[in-house]
Symmetry: C2
Subunit: 454 residues, 2 copies
């Protein structure tokens, strides 16, 4: 405990019901981006809650759902940013919920409701940290900027529009993306400083206007064969991508990266068991496996669909075949450039009949592990939890860090004391009360330290 | 007209309403093998109709729906066989029918109802031909054997059981399979003397017990990639099958085969237009295209299914991938042997993780084009329609000729005056009244000629 006294932590503990009640108000408002239900109402509620907490709110219309920036000034010139989203996943199958997903329920030390962990809890924790700090110290130690979008659960399609149009208002000295969790055993926090990007494409071959009798396969081109051949040309038998230039520009791992990998918290045996795997790809294990998971880009077939997909026999010649692919990219790989390489590869190999459509492109991003912000995050995690955090320099998944951070090289992280394995996107989503309260302390401590305090 | 007088044709014309009424009774009884609706009732009706016509019926239970053999003796020792099926396709979508599919409707010179063409019309035409011949001449010129199954529309799974168990009762001097149609322009009959066989398999790769987050694609094997690679190894870029031994045992075309191909009725331009094709496989045309259609075996991907097949983005690593393949085989290729070659190929190329399941295997069959039966068929077609028939020595599709004919080399054909493009398997299935009546004459004439008459 580095605060001059425990006053703020005690204040948070003493007022946790008040903060839980605010989270309850956020949960009670549906905000389903997929079916556009409650989006405007949720936006209005967010504006009310931020303004009640003294933030100045800028409404930022986009071609889709409105984004919001909430600003509050602090004593120093430092700015701490929080990126969160006010939309949530659907609740189906509803019958599997043990309590109403739209009504915060507290039982067995857990908060239940759609969005408690992903990620209305993050919004509530930031507001609570601001509240507690202001109540105890009168003024914030740094400025806080809350940046909220309403389409995260449907792909953040308008986020680049927002970050480009409002970029002059979005500078921060460090940004927390949604939050972070403890390790899978509920232990030390995992601080994630970067993530892979993602290019998502659809590949389609259409040869005939309809499926036909398969006797015609002797004389009519089969789009599934064409797509199989095209996809097959993308990779060698060791899963290495054969698209020319695909690996160009990727930086080799540093010794520090390898040291961090050695401490990585990925549960190799547990994941293998959970997924029912016989073995990992190419029988990888240990540090090689972890290196691939965090640092090697992928070319994944996310879906393939053609012809008869039901049970039993149907002798049909498909009229079209479609595949979905995602490429998880690492720093140095630009999604649009990779898209061009894919198209060039198809052309070079005679697959001009394969139509490629880009559905999503998000660049990778990696924060400087030597930044002040990274150091402060580690100190904060240790102070709040009493344990050294685990570092992850590059997550295997994708988060829109780059849109906010790439141009100005802003330090960013997914970090906090969120509950791991908390049924996000699933029925009975929960957040441990103690983790929620710790996360308020985490955010308050982070403000304190970024503001120049010890 | 080669009969000593037109008496039998006149009799058929005069009694056509009676024959249409019988077809109406067959249509009115549902017989859906897929949902097993009305199957026993249809069997009982078929027995009644055959017995009323003087046939001696043998009920032949199988592990599935019952087969029936109906025998009636004639003057000569020749036996004419008819293979037909008493089950029909489903009627959905019902709303597209202009009249009740289960009630024979006559309008604009057509008979409408489910099964009129496929293939209760064939059963009714055989019974009508027997009736007319007996009424006019007192006795049939040859024996007639009707062989009926009730699972044709769901794959004839128990037909090999039937033909093996009752093979001593199934010898004929020639067999008509279901019937045949006029050419696509309603012109001369097409007499088909053989057909490709079919091996239908499912290929499955399973790597994980569930779909997973696609970030794991860096370390977990993707079953879709495995299946794509395995399938890709089956063919070269010119669509030639690379499975070792696949083409072994296939006989080259004779000069006669090529002559027949030159007269083939396949509508190259019309089919291209109908299917909306830009071009045929490998830009084939003319005699090369016809040769492929009739004589070259296929390896067709009938379906491929894995991972996310919906609209838009889902970044998922599939847990399994499944493909369906049909191989249309030609004489010399045994389905079970080809299955072994497929398995050996996969093993040799390192794809032991691809599980292969056989769903169907029917051998090809080709009747002797120089047989007496073939000659009689040609004469019959010419006599009934006034036009030289078109010959097809080997159809591109599959029909279960081999089960009945292969062991004893029985001449067989799909032949008759059926209506082409008559919406079989679709709403508003029809049969032109004049074609139905002509088909009764066709069958009566065939009996006459096989019995040794001119």
């Amino acid at each position: 405990m580095q605060f001059e006294d425990q006053k703020i932590y005690e204040y948070i503990d003493a007022h946790q019901q008040e903060y839980i009640d605010r989270l309850g108000r956020l949960i009670a408002q549906k905000s389903l981006a997929g079916v556009h239900e409650g989006i405007e109402e949720m936006g209005a509620l967010v504006v009310r809650e931020l303004e009640q907490q003294g933030l100045k709110v800028t409404e930022c219309p986009t071609p889709g759902n409105t984004c919001y920036i909430g600003d509050v000034k602090g004593e120093s010139d430092k700015v701490l940013g929080f990126y969160d989203h006010y939309d949530v996943q659907p609740v189906e199958p509803l019958e599997l919920w043990k309590s109403d997903p739209w009504k915060l329920d507290i039982r067995d030390g857990n908060l239940y409701g759609r969005g408690v962990s992903d990620n209305k809890g993050g919004i509530a924790a930031s507001l609570a940290a601001i509240d507690a700090y202001q109540k105890v110290y009168g003024k914030l130690p740094c400025s806080v900027k809350m940046m909220l979008e309403g389409e995260e659960e449907i792909g953040s399609g308008n986020l680049p529009y927002f970050t480009e149009k409002y970029k002059d208002q979005l500078f921060c000295d460090g940004i927390i993306f949604e939050g972070g969790t403890r390790g899978s055993d509920g232990g030390p926090c995992v601080i994630t400083l970067g993530n892979k990007g993602c290019l998502y494409i659809e590949l389609k071959v259409k040869t005939a206007s309809m499926d036909a009798h398969s006797s015609l396969a002797a004389i009519v081109e089969n789009p599934a064969w064409r797509l199989v051949k095209a996809l097959s040309s993308f990779k060698d038998d060791q899963d290495r991508v054969l698209i020319e230039g695909f690996y160009d520009g990727i930086q080799p791992l540093t010794e520090e990266d390898i040291e961090i990998l050695k401490q990585d918290g990925f549960d190799i045996e547990g994941t293998k068991k959970y997924l029912g795997l016989d073995h990992y790809l190419n029988h990888m294990d240990g540090i090689e496996l972890l290196e691939h998971y965090h640092y090697v880009p992928t070319a994944n077939i996310a879906g393939f669909s053609s012809g008869w997909e039901g049970v039993g026999v149907k002798t049909v010649l498909p009229g079209e075949a479609t595949a979905k692919m995602d490429f998880r990219l690492v720093p140095g790989q630009d999604p649009d450039h990779i898209l061009e390489l894919v198209k060039a590869h198809l052309h070079k190999h005679g697959f001009d009949d394969v139509q490629v459509t880009k559905l999503l492109g998000e660049p990778a991003y990696r924060s400087d592990s030597k930044s002040t912000f990274a150091a402060i995050l580690k100190e904060t995690a240790k102070q709040v939890t009493g344990q050294e955090p685990t570092m992850d320099y590059q997550a295997a998944g994708t988060c829109p860090l780059a849109y906010f951070c790439a141009e100005k090289n802003i330090p960013a992280a997914m970090a906090g004391t969120g509950t791991p394995n908390s049924n996000v996107h699933a029925p009975n989503e929960f957040y441990k009360v103690e983790d929620f309260v710790a996360d308020i302390k985490f955010r308050a401590t982070l403000m304190h330290k970024l503001g120049g305090n010890q």
